[in-house]
């Protein structure tokens, strides 16, 4: 396709300038340059080269005008050679993009309504924002659950996005604890200073990896037993080796920094306070897998983490730690940052690829897997930042020493996000095998009325456990055996004063809102599940017939959905029902 039909609407001068600036920042000139190369992934033909600039271009339009106008879409369509209907389809996929002219002047205030903020009273926050004339948008978890209720401000008229709470002093509950591994630099090293990072042992691991060579690094990572911390716990060594084995095509390392699982904020804190560690670990991954291209896909609601990572990349590049022959390892590696725009599903790895490539963030059917057909259809190692953070220590101290912590099947330490009714909410690091009760004690015990009702493990995609689970060792194997999950490390605490029905109804609504809509079991199932629970909430009870319906729907969502969102959309709901958390639901 060489010519694109455009309607009559034209972009304004500021819109054109904003888009051009975004494209130039990405290293391409905003000229119309038809591109016909085609690439087949997941059975779909797709064009590339410029299309992946669609997301940055849409961000530029949104930021300039407060919405994505028809003229703006036409301009972007023209310079990126994307049909306007498709660009519109992409723009309408994301919560942070508006495709109708805003009814208000000025910035938009996003207030989180998910569980931690629900029980912390988000409505009061929303009311106070409104009272001061701010336009409120209620939405899903903002990844600030430890400081609930949470707020994110989206700038318009060219003003930057910001999070008011970023101005508050940062507190790491375990600060100064000598047993900290992954968190040891957090709050002590200056995140804006490469020098400070180097003074805290930074880049020792990359240089060591350079001396060891790719094969030895792959072996160390495999021997360490490191598994993915993004939720699926896939062995990292296996993934990296598969990518390393691919040849003849460009390869990629992607850091999945989309962190949108309700209750999760660990990656944000790591990125904000130890950004160089993420950059260094990605470079090691590039060296080990033979990938030259690094990508950070970060959720759009994390402006501070984005700025710090960008600063770290530039500083590292200036010192030769990124770029050709990174840190003298003989390997070329560089990193680009891509911002998401508000869509939980874009944390699913294949949805992330589609989103980054400028398509709708709809998951691809697997197989083929990312290790052979990932970003741009090319071999890709995609990892969670916490997973990556482990690699440095594995290289420096060796897999055997690494395995000294944790259990045989869950080696190492785990970051856990404590929120809800707990004494000291925040980010914690404990060795795998620590019991849930010990962790809660470490975090100051149950707050509120002090009586534990339930703990949500693993986030909305996880499940509830009751007070009888305090002895549960937090390992992959023990949580699995107990029918729950560590997932992304969410430990959200509810005392007996919390109305669990409202919490569960909101979880169901979250999935309804966040389903990409591609496959029937999830697109419709998530809606019907939510409706059934709302009906229950109104009536104050759930009939046996409706309970059976929930199980019927859940079974189909688990069995026939395309991706993990549909597979887990009924998990927390059913665990709450099984635990009797909402049996005698009070009428709302």
């Amino acid at each position: 396709m060489t010519d694109i039909y455009l309607g009559a609407d034209r972009a304004t001068e500021p819109e054109i300038a904003a888009v051009d600036a975004a494209l130039r920042a990405g290293g391409i000139d905003p000229v119309v340059q038809p591109e016909t190369e085609r690439l087949y992934t997941s059975g779909r033909a797709r064009r590339r080269e410029r299309r992946h600039f669609l997301l940055p271009a849409l961000h530029a339009l949104q930021n300039m005008s407060g919405w994505i106008s028809p003229g703006g879409i036409n301009y972007v369509a023209e310079v990126l050679d994307v049909p306007p209907a498709e660009a519109f389809g992409v723009a309408t996929f994301y919560d942070l993009f508006r495709t109708e002219a805003p009814s208000h002047e000025g910035d938009t205030f996003y207030v989180c309504v998910d569980a931690a903020c629900q029980i912390a009273g988000y409505d009061d926050l929303a009311e106070s924002v409104r009272a001061s004339g701010g336009h409120v948008h209620l939405g899903p978890c903002l990844g600030q659950c430890e400081r609930a209720p949470a707020l994110f401000v989206q700038g318009s008229g060219g003003r930057r996005d910001y999070v008011p709470a970023d101005e508050d002093p940062f507190v790491l509950p375990q600060a100064g604890d000598p047993s900290l591994r992954l968190l040891r630099r957090i709050g002590t090293a200056d995140p804006d200073s490469l020098e400070s990072y180097l003074a805290h042992g930074g880049y020792v691991a990359l240089r060591r990896a350079g001396e060891m060579g790719a094969e030895a690094v792959l072996e160390a990572v495999a021997d360490s037993g490191l598994s993915g911390r993004g939720g699926a716990a896939f062995p990292t060594g296996v993934k990296w080796r598969a990518v390393a084995a691919e040849g003849g095509r460009p390869k990629h390392v992607v850091a999945n920094c989309d962190e949108s699982e309700p209750g999760t904020f660990k990656d944000r804190i790591v990125m904000e306070h130890d950004p160089f560690a993420v950059i260094e670990a990605m470079t090691i991954a590039g060296l080990a897998t033979g990938a030259a291209n690094g990508w950070i896909y970060i959720r759009g609601e994390y402006p501070q983490a984005t700025a710090r990572l960008q600063g770290a990349i530039e500083a590292a590049r200036a010192e030769g730690l990124l770029g050709p022959n990174s840190a003298g390892t003989g390997h070329d590696f560089d990193i680009a940052i891509w911002r998401g725009a508000g869509a939980y599903i874009c944390g699913e790895e294949t949805a992330l690829f589609n989103s980054l490539e400028g398509f709708r963030g709809e998951p691809r059917n697997k197989p083929p897997f990312p290790t052979t057909h990932g970003l741009f259809g090319e071999p890709t190692a995609i990892n969670n930042p916490e997973t990556l953070l482990n690699v440095g220590d594995i290289i420096i101290e060796g897999p055997d020493a690494y395995r000294q912590r944790g259990t045989e099947r869950s080696p190492g330490t785990k970051l856990l996000c404590l929120s809800g009714k707990v004494g000291r909410p925040g980010l914690y690091e404990v060795p795998f095998g620590t019991t849930l009760g010990t962790l809660l004690d470490l975090a100051g015990g149950v707050a509120g009325n002090g009586e534990l009702q339930a703990v949500l493990m693993g986030g909305a995609a996880g499940s509830f456990v009751g007070p009888d689970s305090l002895g549960l060792p937090l390992t992959l194997e023990d949580t699995r055996a107990a029918g729950t999950t560590l997932g992304s490390g969410v430990v959200m605490v509810f005392d007996t004063s919390v109305d669990m029905t409202a919490v569960v109804v909101r979880i169901a609504e979250f999935f309804r809102d966040e389903s990409c809509g591609q496959c029937v079991p999830c697109r419709v199932g998530a809606v019907r599940q939510h409706e059934t629970l709302v009906q229950m909430q109104k009536r104050g009870s759930l009939s046996a017939d409706r309970r059976a319906l929930i199980d019927d729907m859940a079974e189909a969502m688990v069995d026939a959905s395309i991706c993990g969102l549909g597979h887990t959309a009924a998990s927390a709901v059913r665990s709450a029902l099984n635990l009797g958390l909402i049996q005698e639901a009070p009428a709302a």
Binding site: A85, E86, F88, R360, V520, A526, I562
Partner: protein, 286 residues
């Protein structure tokens, strides 16, 4: 897809206890056809790239935790497939039920027998005091050639594929919105005459639910005069240019009411251009 030809590598698998041989690269669905096993499909068509989104074709595959879409999953040697287990039947039933609970399937004729076979009951959702959300959209009648009634749309992506990479390369329509609010749309929902649409009608040709419908058919249905049983189909070759597209003229009461092209035709794969699709008005001297 037929039996493995001599030049292709054959793959053998077991489906419902029977061994089946098909060419390498075939899908499980093709193998089911080979074995004479009837499988429901909705988003799959032989002239389109599989998108595997509707999930009505799922089967059980040994070694896989979840069910797999038969329409897109390639066979491999030694695969063991079950197509009629309680799990398979349940998921297929739920997919059909979910669809029926949210959109108007009254003209999705192919689905009716499957809904019956699996006992799908779309009415068991919601309650009198708690109606379920459905897709309710006014019918878009924006020209004399075809209409769009998205309250019948199952989001099978077929029209998008036919308008895009798989046939027409016009990209006038795409999926917009997310989740249950996702709809097939032009940019900013502009009318078809204001969009890139070139009126090839290929989207209409592949739509399985009547959401996209030729205006002739729509008008006749409005007055209760659409009578497929009284229609004859005549195969001819389009006379507008030298390409040689096969046309099937559907005639009711001595008038052409619809033009299609066989999807297995080597020239068209079922797809036409505006002239072949809509240029027959001259036959009636209009």
């Amino acid at each position: 897809m037929t039996a493995a030809t001599i030049t292709e590598t054959a793959v053998s698998l077991r489906i419902d206890g029977r061994s089946v041989e098909v060419a390498e690269g075939s899908t499980i669905h093709a193998a089911c056809v080979e074995a004479g096993i009837d499988t429901p499909t909705l988003c799959w068509a032989e002239n389109l790239t599989p998108v595997n989104v509707c999930r009505v074709c799922v089967v059980e595959m040994e070694g896989s935790r979840a069910l797999v879409p038969s329409c897109s999953r390639p066979v491999s040697d030694g695969m063991v497939i079950e197509t009629d287990t309680p799990r398979v039947r349940h998921s297929r039933k739920m997919v059909l039920e979910f669809l029926g609970s949210g959109v108007d399937l009254s003209q999705a004729d192919d689905l009716h027998r499957w809904m019956e076979a699996y006992g799908a009951d779309p009415d068991r959702y919601g309650a009198d005091d708690h109606p379920v959300e459905r897709v309710e959209e006014p019918v878009k009648v924006q020209d004399e050639l075809y209409i769009r009634d998205y309250s019948k749309c199952v989001l099978c992506y077929k029209c998008v594929e036919a308008c895009g990479d798989d046939a027409q390369h016009t990209f006038a329509i795409a999926v917009a919105g997310r989740g249950f609010d996702a709809r097939i749309s032009t940019e900013f929902d502009v009318t078809l005459p204001d969009s890139a649409c070139v009126y090839c009608g290929n989207c209409v040709g592949v739509c399985p639910t009547g959401a996209l419908q030729f205006k002739t058919e729509y008008d006749l249905r409005q007055v209760g005069e659409w009578r497929p049983d009284d229609q004859s189909v005549t195969r001819t070759v389009c006379s507008y240019c030298g390409v040689g597209c096969n046309l099937d003229l559907h005639v009711q009461d001595e008038r052409i009411v619809k033009v299609t092209s066989p999807s297995d035709h080597s020239v068209t794969s079922g797809h036409l251009c505006i002239k072949g699709r809509f240029g027959w008005q001259y036959v009636h001297g209009e």
